[in-house]
């Protein structure tokens, strides 16, 4: 849960060379990046839940200023970095006052662009405690990061800090199988020693508390030889006989991989 949180970035630029190089670096850093060669309606940007937007105004057409203003207005939480060719002081000042977070001049080194995007995100995150994202609900569960607790029908599960962080991590990656190493790395913050069973132990504690508070549901599933997957499902052997769910397990393409971090 440290600095290296994954960043969702959108790039609006038609300089394919620059964009490609940038893409490689961001991918290596574990960020999620989407690229566009022309203006994207602000509404769509909203839907992407971005952390930052890197844009070359030359591809925005005539109403570049208006577009930037609209984006900054609609998404005050979004970090906006302009990366433009020639520009005057007056233009840069206008942009910055308008709500832009940083203005880089091309040609620029991708590494610097990334560092600046990172800097902007860091600053924004600092100013906005993780209050936003309303409570995450799953099954009968309600996970509230503002209280470091999970609730079922209003009753707290009394999770300890570690338990909560583990649950939150799993729930955030809902549906995905996470390997033990990846889990340990992200919750404990450092590499897991060979043979460490801490993750298993905490999974058990979590399952116990979940079972007590919300019997009839199973939330955490074991994937033998791999890791764990969070996915709320009404218990099978329950009174409801049918409703099968052939359960394709392997689920969509987005299977595993991406642990890295």
């Amino acid at each position: 849960m440290n600095s290296q949180q994954t960043i969702r970035l959108a790039v609006i630029d038609d300089d394919s060379g620059f964009v490609t190089v940038l893409g490689k670096r961001t991918e290596a850093a574990g960020w999620q990046q989407r690229t566009f060669a022309g203006p994207v309606p602000p509404e769509e940007l909203v839907a992407m839940k971005l952390n930052a937007l890197l844009v070359d105004p030359s591809v925005l057409g005539d109403d570049a200023w208006g577009y930037l203003e609209r984006v900054c207005g609609m998404l005050p939480e979004l970090g906006v970095i302009v990366c433009a060719g020639r520009s005057t002081v007056a233009q840069r000042v206008r942009g910055l006052r308008l709500g832009i977070d940083d203005w880089i001049t091309k040609p620029c080194h991708p590494e610097e662009a990334i560092a600046r995007v990172e800097s902007v995100c860091r600053r924004r995150r600092r100013s906005r405690p993780q209050v936003e994202a309303g409570p995450l609900v799953a099954g009968e569960l309600e996970i509230r990061s503002d209280r470091f607790q999970a609730f079922v029908a209003g009753a707290s599960l009394d999770l300890t800090r570690r338990e909560f962080e583990l649950l939150q991590l799993l729930a955030d990656a809902s549906g995905q199988v996470l390997e033990r190493e990846a889990i340990y790395q992200r919750v404990w913050g450092y590499a897991m020693a060979h043979g460490d069973r801490s993750v298993d132990v905490f999974i058990r504690k979590l399952r116990q508390k979940l079972e007590k508070a919300s019997p009839g549901w199973s939330y955490i599933h074991t994937h033998f030889g791999v890791g764990y997957r969070f996915d709320p499902e009404p218990a099978v052997g329950s009174e409801l006989p049918v409703a099968e769910k052939p359960i394709v397990e392997v689920s969509p393409p987005d299977t595993v991989e991406q642990l890295v971090v």
Copy 2:
């Protein structure tokens, strides 16, 4: 709300021409500016309660990087803008990763420098400036920021300055768990040293005074391993069963609802 609140800026640079011009502009903008020709101990910067720092690393001497790192570490809330002469991409990237918020290259137009400082500071405002909002009431407590005091039934709790600030911070974030680091950062103004127990001690003092003035209520709750949460609740085994709680409270804590899905 991003009103031009006055910005407190410190400039560390020995380029008298630049500094002078800058000073004129910031003054015109109503900012408070202090200028230094050499490195200033981070502790002194803390005492200045700055919003931003504009610094030319060439006047910092040999340990410029170390200095910047210390400043960024101690004052994570401070906006740090480096304004340097020649520099390489590697240097800029190093600075930005280190915690610098922006890196400008000299010669630069004062107007742009100001716009960038402004941009960096813009993010930091989130705490609503409800300075003059009516007194905040919680349980039997009345917190009056205009008096720097809290009262119960008209009687002052005799809080000291720190105690009051701590209480106010907690009450403003009512219902939310605040971590010690965050508390220390906001009340003391700089980063908490590892192992510092000041927050705990003040919490105890607060609890003592609250208990004496308003027995039967518990206001500050401990979240083991995390921090503290302010939330007025009538003590459990209390004689008054219910009916109390005029309280408008921010949220009916949990009104369940989810289930089913």
